[in-house]
Symmetry: C2
Amino acid sequence: MRISELAEVTGTTVTTLKFYLRRGLLPPGRVVTRTQAEYDAEHVERVRLVRALSEVGGLDLAAVGRVLEAIESPDIGRLDVMATAQHALSGPREREGRGEGEGPGDGEGPGDGEDPPRGDERTRAWIAARDWQVDPRDAALDRLAASWSACDDAGIGLDEVRLDAYADAVERIARIDVTSVPPEPAAAVRQVVLGTVLVEPVLASLRLLAQQHTAITEGRRS
Amino acid sequence: MRISELAEVTGTTVTTLKFYLRRGLLPPGRVVTRTQAEYDAEHVERVRLVRALSEVGGLDLAAVGRVLEAIESPDIGRLDVMATAQHALSGPREREGRGEGEGPGDGEGPGDGEDPPRGDERTRAWIAARDWQVDPRDAALDRLAASWSACDDAGIGLDEVRLDAYADAVERIARIDVTSVPPEPAAAVRQVVLGTVLVEPVLASLRLLAQQHTAITEGRRS
């Protein structure tokens, strides 16, 4: 199909598709004439995936690029896959400079794994007390430390006890995540990376609905 | 203190603070001379909150404005509070038009609650089967439907059984959320709104770490 049909089928615009092509998020079509290329079902699937990751997953286009790269590395190990998914998920923090003149917020490369231990002391102590086996240089530790501090600063009473209670529930989620991973390597990579990014908004919506349900059924005292 | 001191204390820049003032995210200081205003501890706290919501919570500035508005409405009901927090959380989807020429993605007002039932048929059926008491016009239903469909499109096997398993875990999280809400109304509003937004990245980081821990300890077969 032509690019205009690809746009129609995927509910997007030719401008957007050309933008994806320029950013390397969409592989080029098969050249037919000097001004025309043919696109196929794989392009349709790819456009849908890019849109899902950016619109549903909330990733910026640099993060989308990293996720696509991870999916296309068939020899990547399971932990590397998780690290990549993680890095992709921490992408939104790159947007923090927007409108604040604090330098470019886009296009930063992933960490190289040669950094010092991540997270602050409290976070590392909590992880150790919980006996979680995680890479001490994992960027998620920084993210946990920063978001935990932000809760403190905002006066939310998130102490170790409440964090442990959350972690108990989240361990169940992680067990579902990990046991849903298919045994075949390429499928596993796809499942872990996309599942980590795309299931996140599912869980966030479930939390809002479950809060409402709980507040209504248990919290009638309010 | 002067605006330059406020910038220093909060680790930001005068440019950023003036931007917040223009957007109404930071209340004006007490006018001292025609070119100078005084800021106090409340301004420091507010700047930290704005930064936490945007940088840690990942909200765009329009959503930050809505959250601040919610916190400042002392007579808002518990469900309204949740709806506002929800709306603020669904903010990132407003960014979807970026670079795609699909019209303005910023500054849209919240829904007026006069809309038809939200979510698709499958989502409504699942909610009904689960017997969750939620507002059928809640925007989180749309978000759940969209993110669930995106998982389908990406080939993630998220069926009703797996969604139920996630929901069981998320119900525990919601119970912690709801029982952590202080009885005093103004504090409750603050806790629910900020907790919904700021605890989200804590949970997302915990999920990544718990996945890693689970994959290492249970998944040595990989």
